[in-house]
């Protein structure tokens, strides 16, 4: 069950808002400070990718984030610019090829750096691409009962 949804027009200024919402929800879900940093980074990178994709082909459509904080935190980032259908590692290749270079403002770092950060900080990461766009799901598990 989705508990919070956030949609924003693809402008860089809004990525910070998305990070702040993610951190507020993670805190509410009882996740620890070290995890909050991971969430802040992963959500920032995911939104950066989403923004690049959306600005290129669907600049008037929003980037949509669906949060669920009922057990740990899951964050689902969606765009609507059409992509080749793929899942798993293949979807990451589709994304790497689709994100314009230079991406929004970076000049030298390939999209691989954003994906490396995502993979390092999101314990669960599933990417699917389709004609309907990108769906990037990240998840952080509930804190162990002993820590509560």
């Amino acid at each position: 069950m989705a508990t919070v949804e956030l949609s924003f027009v693809p402008r860089p200024a809004h990525v910070r808002t998305a990070r702040q919402v993610a951190v507020a929800l993670a805190r509410r879900a009882g996740l620890g400070d070290d995890v909050l940093d991971e969430i802040r980074l992963a959500v920032g990178e995911a939104c950066g990718l989403a923004l690049s994709l959306q600005r290129q082909n669907r600049p008037d459509d929003p980037v949509v984030l669906v949060f669920d904080d009922s057990a740990g935190l899951t964050v689902d980032v969606r765009t609507s610019a059409p992509l080749d259908p793929a899942s798993g590692d293949h979807a990451l290749s589709v994304l790497a090829a689709a994100v314009p270079r230079p991406a929004v403002t970076a000049e030298e770092l390939p999209v691989g750096a954003a994906l490396a950060v995502l993979a390092a900080f999101a314990p669960r990461l599933e990417v699917t691409t389709s004609r309907a766009g990108m769906r990037l799901e990240m998840g952080w598990p509930e804190v162990a009962v002993a820590n509560r």
Partner: protein, 117 residues
Amino acid sequence: MEDVVDLSLSTRPEGGRTVVEVAGEIDVYTAPKLREQLADLVDAGRNDIVVDMRGVEFLDSTGLGVLVGGLKRIRQNDGSMRLVCTQERILKIFRITGLTKVFPIHESVATAVAAGD
């Protein structure tokens, strides 16, 4: 409200190099400001730069891209770019992306300024 940029930059000469003090969040929105600052310094012939990042609270891959881009331009001019960074959360991002091999990272401005190339 898009002119509210949560990133502050200041520069000063120190020991023959230029120290750029960066504080706040370097992300997809604020990174262009840092890129501009680095480009201005290189254009002004200041090619030995120390970026003091101890006041940085957040850094994403866009910010890394700007640093790498700056380094590339500086190297074309036979200059140097050193970073000062002590926060584990920021250092981790450099390690994950393999950039600890690209940038000399120091614990203090003094050691960065004194370092030979």
